[in-house]
Symmetry: C2
Subunit: 343 residues, 2 copies
């Protein structure tokens, strides 16, 4: 058993006294190979424990049947849902996946891009890392006509295929909800406004304020990275503000949780003193106290849609040039961290 030489189609061919070409065709389900021969081939393949050599195949066909996925992190509910969605669609279509994560570093993201390019993935699905500013590292793919679909964190220059939620609307909904709970001064804890998702949510926040006739106060905008420290810092800043805010719209559940914990330590009651809304609907949201109002981000759907678009393009069914932007539905989930009005 051990140390066995690899079985090739030549071995199969020799055993059956037919040509390797026939074996190859038989295995590929080529029409015009007789049923009898086909059966003999398959039986012998089974018997000899043959496994096809991807490299020979890819070398000849110049296709890898592999799709690359680039994400910023793996440890959120949202991302793993997206991956599940992508996986479902690609597996059905007979494609393999290579998943690369950048740990939120633009440098690592560029390295991953080089690597996947080197591996010659047939297509790419990507969400940008936190500090990615330019998209140069995707240029090689475009130069070689390798299709790329972006999701979630994208660069919305209108020239690429992207799958997103309506972040502005979500920001609006979150803010509007806080306003409906009689919040008058709503802090916005978010991340770099260079990143589309945060810029859009911010826009929604401002629009909601505007529509209610409330002024926007720049001091209420707290920008940080998405670390635990960022949440603590935000809470400390909020404590120092006079008058103190009575609502927080935070664009990340984890940071919202850290923020809430820190505020509670300082004696703030949530939602009575400050109402809080997060974003993403991560598992953490209903384990903390009070449970966190948040925006549900349909990861599975986004993954499925991104993957389906890519694969349809690869199979020539549709063309990515035409479908520029897909917007996936999302919704506000109201829990205890924000409800101050009794019915």
């Amino acid at each position: 058993m051990r140390e066995a030489k690899e079985v090739t189609i030549y071995d199969i061919a020799k055993k059956l006294n037919i040509s390797p070409a026939t074996v190859s065709r038989g295995l590929a389900g080529h029409p015009g190979i007789s049923k009898k021969t086909k059966k003999k081939i398959i039986d012998t393949v089974e018997e000899m424990g043959y496994r096809s050599n991807h490299f020979a195949r890819n070398l000849r066909q110049k296709q890898t049947h592999t799709i690359g996925v680039m994400v910023h992190e793996l440890n959120s509910n949202f991302i793993t849902s997206v991956l599940a969605g992508i996986e479902k669609v690609t597996t059905e279509a007979g494609y393999d996946l290579i998943i690369a994560h950048s740990s939120e570093s633009a440098k690592k993201e560029a390295a991953n891009a080089r690597n996947l390019f080197q591996k010659r993935v047939d297509g790419l699905i990507a969400s940008l890392s936190f500090d990615t500013t330019d998209l140069d590292h995707f240029q090689p793919f475009l130069n070689k006509d390798v299709p790329v679909v972006f999701f979630d964190r994208v660069e919305q220059d209108g020239n690429r295929t992207v799958v997103v939620i309506d972040n502005a609307k979500c920001g609006y909904m979150a803010t509007e909800h806080l306003l409906s709970q009689e919040c008058k001064r709503i802090a916005h804890v978010t991340s770099s406004l260079n990143r589309n998702v945060y810029a859009q949510r911010y826009k929604g926040y401002r629009d909601a304020l505007y529509d209610k006739g409330l002024p926007f106060d720049e001091k209420l905008l707290l920008v940080g990275d998405l670390s635990e420290q960022a949440g603590i810092d935000a809470a400390n800043q909020i404590m120092k503000m006079k008058p103190r805010p009575d609502g927080i719209f935070c664009t990340n559940d984890f940071v919202a949780a850290v923020c809430m914990r820190t505020l509670k330590e300082k004696g703030i009651r949530i939602p009575e003193d400050i109402a809080v809304v997060g974003f993403n609907n991560d598992a953490i949201g209903h384990l903390i106290e009070p449970t966190l109002t948040t925006i549900n981000y349909p990861g599975i759907d986004m993954g499925e849609i991104a993957a389906r678009n890519l694969i349809n393009h690869l199979k020539g069914i549709s063309n990515l040039q035409q479908t520029n932007t897909v917007i996936v539905r999302s919704e506000l989930i109201i829990r205890n961290s924000s409800v101050r009005k009794k019915k």
Copy 2:
């Protein structure tokens, strides 16, 4: 730019009027290629935008320079730390990674194994899924002498290379700590005792009880999967017990958090009425209230060690047959969910 034909070493060779063999050697840093030629080659490679073809290389060399990683899930702190550790070591050594996750399903795990086998990874690092009972799907790797290192969830039949923590000791520490906080009836919320990690922790729990002269009560052992529902069920069962337990040792932070939330909803005070210890040191542990005492599981170290062992074996520096079991240090982190005695 676009539609450009792929550049090969033949193109480079033609341009420089040398042979493809020289180009190949120059690129591989072969000694005995003059510095001048080497420089010319590298310059031309740069200029023409050559990228090497992995498939041709792998086909010829019968090596993929790729390591497969199989994990049960991606969404825990622990697993992402392990991945980070593996990544660090393998990248340094010039190996690529393919990460496959089984979503805790033995069936998917077997499919992943087939896939990675098909892809001919040079080595494998794996943690078993929840309901994996036999290791048949790893047999093909062993038959072909592809080295496999298991970590965390393993089958400890003494015949494989495994990287683990001392789960029994951790279970002992956790239980002992609860006992030191004057707990008299400690429930043990865990998962299938067929899985080594849970079996060992259970053993530690029982040993600690025994050493303190306390009886073991079978009714206090609550086995479930690791879902949210399992946590709720466990809490409900604990509420029904008479006399009610005054301590819980839960082998998973997430389930511990769910349990705590459910108990609190029913008016139980933690740690006064019931003290709780979790396992893993996930981020959630210091966001919930009270913060969770837990066992720190050094993911990065485990990943690094597993990867280093595998790579040393691949490079012929060491032999996996010899290093059977590596035990990584771990420790108890005491937070508020378990501290009842004031100093």
